[in-house]
C-alpha cells in the first residue's frame, strides 16, 4: 500500500469503527430520558430525584439489566422552567432517541412536557407532580406514581375533625401545583364544614413572604395549609417565627424533605405538620420494608444527605416502574412500552405501583394510588402524630 492510499484507507477504517462502536453501544443500552429541575427554584428536589433514579439504574444493571441489555439514564436539566422542560423532552426523544421518559418534577413542568409526549407518541412516567390536570386532560402517554392533590385531600379528610380544624387559610405556590392543591383541599374542607379563608399566593422563586405572612397573621383562621417545596418552606417557617405567627401549619405536596427543614429552619419548624408519601424514618411501617432498607442503605453508602430520601425514592420507584414496563413490553419501542405500563404491578416504597385509568374515556392516563401519611416535627424529630 502506498502512502497515498494509506491515508484514505485509514480514515475509512476509522470512520467504520466509529459507526460500529456507536451502533453497538446503542444496541447494548436501553436509554431512559430523565427530565428534572437540576438548577433554579427546584434544584434541590430535582437533584434528589435524579440520585434516586441512579440507584435504581445501578441496581437493575447489577442484576443483568432489562431484556438482557443495560439501561442508561440520559439526564437533562429543565432549569425549573416549563419552556425548558418542553425543549428537554423534545431533545431527549428526537436527538437521544429515548423510548420512554421520567419527569418532570413540578406540575407546570410536566404539563408543559405533555403535548410533546402526544406529538412523539412517547410515554412519560410522572414521579412527583400533583396537579389533577395531569391525569384528567386526556393524554394517554402519562403514567403517574405520585398522588394527585385530590388523593392527598381524600387521605387527609378523616383527620380534619380529629385535629379540630375550624377555619383554614392557604399559602400556595402561584402555579398548577399550588392552585391544584388549594382547589382540592378547599373542596374537601368545605365538605367537612370547615371554613376556608384567605388564599395567598407566592411565586416559585420568591424569597420574601413577609407580606403574605403578615396578612395571614392578622386573619382569624386557626390553620394555614402551605403548598410548596422544601427551600421555600424553610424560608416561610423562618419568616413566620420572625413575625411571631403561631398557627397550626400543615404542608402538602410531598416535597418537604422534613429533615432538611429541621436542619435549616431549626426551632421555627417545631410543631409543623406535613402530608408526605414515604416514611423513611420508620422503615418497618412502609409497605415494602426490605426494599426501603435497601434503598436507604444504598443512599447512605453514596454519601447523600438523609433529608433527600423523601424526594429521591420517587426517582428510584419511577425507574423501577419503567424497567418493568420495558421488560413486559419485550422490546424498547415507545409504543410497546406505553402499552406495557398498564401491566406494571409491584410494591414500591410507598405502596402498590399499578396504573388505573383516569381521565376521559379512550384517552385515559395512568394513575397509581400510593400511600399518604401525616407526620409532625416534634422536639426536632419526625414523629407520627397520634390522632
Amino acid at each position: 500500500m502506498t502512502r497515498k492510499t494509506l491515508a484514505p484507507a485509514l480514515t475509512h477504517a476509522l470512520a467504520l469503527s466509529l459507526v460500529l462502536a456507536s451502533s453497538t453501544a446503542y444496541a447494548q443500552a436501553i436509554r431512559i430520558g430523565v427530565n428534572e429541575p437540576l438548577t433554579g427554584a427546584f434544584a434541590a428536589s430535582g437533584t434528589y430525584v435524579v440520585n434516586g433514579a441512579k440507584i435504581a439504574a445501578d441496581e437493575i444493571n447489577a442484576k443483568g439489566g432489562v431484556l438482557g441489555r443495560k439501561i442508561e439514564l440520559v439526564i437533562e436539566d429543565n432549569k425549573s422552567n416549563p419552556t425548558e422542560a418542553a425543549a428537554v423532552a423534545e431533545k431527549l426523544i428526537t436527538s437521544d432517541k429515548t423510548p420512554v421518559l421520567m419527569g418532570a418534577w413540578g406540575s407546570s413542568l410536566t404539563l408543559a412536557v405533555m403535548p410533546k409526549l402526544a406529538d412523539y407518541e412517547t410515554a412519560m412516567l410522572v414521579e412527583t407532580s400533583s396537579s389533577g390536570k395531569i391525569t384528567t386532560s386526556g393524554n394517554p402517554y402519562v403514567f403517574r406514581i405520585s398522588p394527585p392533590s385530590s388523593l392527598e385531600a381524600e387521605t387527609f379528610a378523616p383527620m380534619v375533625a380529629k385535629l379540630g380544624l375550624k377555619k383554614v387559610d392557604f399559602l400556595i405556590l402561584n402555579n398548577d401545583f399550588g392552585r391544584g392543591a388549594a382547589a382540592d383541599f378547599g373542596t374537601m374542607l368545605k365538605g367537612k364544614g370547615v371554613a376556608v379563608g384567605l388564599v395567598e399566593t407566592m411565586d416559585q422563586g420568591a424569597q420574601d413572604m413577609s407580606a403574605q405572612l403578615s396578612k395571614l397573621k392578622a386573619s382569624d383562621s386557626d390553620t394555614i395549609m402551605i403548598t410548596s417545596a422544601v427551600d421555600q418552606l424553610v424560608l416561610i417557617f423562618k419568616q413566620m417565627a420572625a413575625l411571631g405567627l403561631k398557627k397550626r401549619v400543615i404542608t402538602t405536596g410531598g416535597s418537604q424533605n422534613p429533615d432538611q427543614i429541621i436542619a435549616q429552619a431549626g426551632s421555627a419548624a417545631e410543631g409543623t405538620m406535613h402530608l408526605t408519601t414515604f416514611l423513611p424514618w420508620f422503615p418497618e411501617k412502609t409497605p415494602n420494608p426490605q426494599a426501603t432498607a435497601y434503598f436507604i442503605g444504598e443512599w447512605n453508602n453514596r454519601g447523600f444527605q438523609f433529608a433527600g430520601v423523601t424526594e429521591s425514592f420517587r426517582g428510584y420507584d419511577g425507574i423501577r416502574a419503567i424497567a418493568q414496563a420495558i421488560e413486559k413490553a419485550g422490546s424498547a419501542e415507545p409504543a410497546a412500552i406505553t402499552k406495557a405500563f398498564w401491566s406494571v404491578d409491584f410494591t414500591g416504597l410507598n405502596g402498590p405501583i399499578r396504573f388505573i385509568k383516569a381521565g376521559p374515556a379512550g384517552k385515559e392516563s395512568g394513575q397509581s394510588k400510593p400511600d399518604v401519611y401525616l407526620i409532625e416535627i416534634r422536639d426536632g424529630k419526625v414523629a407520627v402524630p397520634t390522632l
Binding site: 438548577t39 427554584a41 437533584t47 395567598e200 399566593t201 407580606a211 396578612k215 392578622a218 427551600d231 420572625a242
Partner: protein
Amino acid sequence: MAEFYQHLLNTLVLGGTYALLGIGLTLIFGIMNVVNFTHGALYTVGAYLTYLAVAALGLNFFLALPAAILGGLVLGAAIELVLLRPLRGSDIDTTMLVMIGAGIVLQSGTLWLFGGVAKAIPTPFPEAPLQIGPVSVSWLRLFVLGAALTLIVLTYVLINRTRLGLAMRAAFQDHDTAALMGVNVRLIYTATFAIGSSLAAAAGALLGPVYVVFPQMGGMAELKAFAIVILGGLGNITGAAIGGFILALAEELGAGYISSGYRDAMGFLIIIAVLVFKPTGLFAKAERIG
C-alpha cells in the same frame, strides 16, 4: 392597624438592601456610563462569599460582611481592568454585550462551584423575634437594616466629603477637564466600578443569611436594581436610595392589600408608570451624583 405597621416595618428592612443595590448600579452608570449587567451576579457572589466565610471557613458572622465587601471590591476592580478599560471609548452597546457575557460567566461560575442546591447561612442571632407592640421583627433583619443604612451613609460621605469623591464628581461632570486638572480619570473609573460592585456584594452578603443562597438569586435582584435606578433617575444616588424604599413599599402593600401573586409585578408596574409620566425619574431635578 397592626398588620399595616407590620407591612411598614417589613418595608424598612427590605428597602435598605434594595437601596444598596440601586446605589451601586446608579453610581456606575452615572460616572462611567456603563450599564452593569454583572450587578446581579456580584450580588450572588457576595452571598456565596458570606456562605464560604461562615459555613465553610467558620469565620465570625460579623467578619463575613467586610470579607464579602472586600471580595466585591477586588472582583469589581478586576472586571473594570480586564474588560472595561480596553473598551473605553467604544459604543455603549459593545460594553453592554460584554457585561451581559461577564454576568453569565459569573452566574455559571457560582453554579459550577457550588451546585444548584440552595445553601443556608447560619447566623448568631436568636430565632425569637423582637416584639415591638403589635409588630415583630427578627434580630437578623434589624442587623441587616442597620448595616444597610450604615453603608448608605458611608457611600454618601465617600462621595461628598472625600478627595476621591470630589474626583469622582469632577470626572462625572466633565471627564476631560478633570483629567486636565490632574485627576487620574482611569483610576477613578476603576475605583467607581469597584465601589459599585462592593455595594452589590454587600447587599448579597446581607440578604444571603435572611433568605437562602443559590446561583440564580441575582436575576431578580438585578431587575429590581434597574427598577430602582429608573425610579430614582439614572445616576442619582439620593434618588436610588429613596427609590429602594419606594419599591419595597409598593411590593409590601401590593402583596398585602391587592394580590400577593403580583408582588414582583408591582415594582415593574411602577417603572412603567414612571417612564410614561416622568421619563427622567422621580428625582431627576436633584443634583446628580451626590
